[in-house]
Amino acid sequence: MDWFITPFSYGFMRHALLAGVLVSITCAIVGTFVVLRGLAFIGDAMAHGVLPGIAVSLLLGYPAILGAAVGTIIMISGIGLITQRSRLSSDTAIGLLFVGMLALGVVIVSRSTSFSGDLVRILFGELLGVDTQAILIQLGAAILIAVTVLVCTRPFLLLCFDPEQAQVAGFSARLYHYVMLGLIAITVIVSFRTVGTLLVFGMLLAPAGTAALLGRRLGAMMAWAVVFGTLSVYLGLLASYHFNIAAGAAVVLVAIATFFIVFLVQAIRGQRVRRLELRPPHE
């Protein structure tokens, strides 16, 4: 029993747990829509596109969160511009944009004296080094995102269902699409300090993806995503403490392992269940 509790008698572990749980709540809510709308690639692009912004602000001595914000704004406008000219394959263009931003970020960071240290910190975060301020920012973001999603549930649902349907129903498909991208951006901006830009993407996708396999309703899916995310944070931190491995990466690995375990269990058992479901309760 001690094995599961003792690590959290340390302040830095409690901070990490608290920050991690807040990250997983934020990522669960936003990730649900990322999974349902198939925005994984855009989320990925955004998570990596922030790198040059962070790098510049580190070099110039500004808060990294400011640079991350500028980075995501550039990414959102870039993606918006690309998707409007849809004759160009947007996959290719968005891919190039984000690899370009990533490379630019590395180029900028390489000017820094502590190149690899900075890069690792940006990509994988410092879950074991979060301070109270970071936790408060994370908490603020979680509340902002939860309230926004609560208010926008209907247009978001319609967007998942059919963007044209949303438009005809009087909810601007474009406006709410950008609100959704904005929520992804906020998640990335506030989460990169804890889990890093590379791993925040994993936390956006894995718990929500696992939940998509189980949830029958939107609310249930989000709740499952929070459960899986929180569980991953807890188990990941335990593993990190006991086996002396990188905390952020351990958390994401647990989240992704959970996805594949649930996926496999469903693939083996699910066929039977699904066949039962497929028989409609005919009159």
Binding site: V35, L36, V151, C152, R154, P155, L157, L158, C160, F161, D162, E164, Q165, Q167, V168, A169, G170, F171, A212, G215, R216, R217, L218, A220, M221, R274, E277, L278, P280, P281, E283
Partner: protein, 256 residues
Amino acid sequence: MKEQTRIDTSNQASNLGGTVCLHAQHLDIGYNHDTVVADINFELHTGQSLALVGTNGSGKSTLLKTMVGLQSPIRGDLTAFGRKPGSAPRRVAYLSQFHVSGFVLPLRTIDVVRMGRFPILGLLGRMSREDGELVTAAMRTMGIEKLADSPLWSLSGGQQQRTYIAQVLAHRADLIVLDEPTAGLDAAGHDVFSRAIRGELARGATVVVATHDIEDASTCDVLMLLARRVVAVGAGPEVLTPDLLLKTFGIQIPHH
């Protein structure tokens, strides 16, 4: 320039005594700058039904999208309720031809039908008991009330189509615009749909349907034959002639 058979529908309309619901004048429709159909003229009165008949790519869907404001007219005028299309979402329901695969969406049948009330409720309006009753009634009309709690992905194609139609019915819109609504429906589903549309017309709604089913179309007050141009507009018997159908479909329609 282009030959066009136009049959005057104004007599019929004034007999019904309705106000103008849809009005098109020298309307060119299309995407960006590619005109799909040029110079469309028609008037549809409240409570009437209009069928757009033509093959795939004839311009049916483009005209429907223009009517609901998803697509801007390239030239000319189109008004719905005397205003720009898309400016009265509470009054207009639209069923598009293609749906995003409901496979991954965590929605039950009833959740999908409830979406039909969203235009009325807006962002934060509470779903009242009356809303709930309209949702239940729509599902009963389409014969899917027993599937209410089933996940959307577990339904057959026909049952999903019935669900989407039920969503439109739950809206209680003044103008109902349907793109190929009977695609994927079996004979029983087809009957259920026809009855539902008669019900909507009976309560005073205006209905526009795109179809290539001539029998469906012949029950409408006004027909428009499209083949990337307006071949003819008018009442069924005047428009459904072998000659005009040949021009629309490019093939000979066998006589029964």
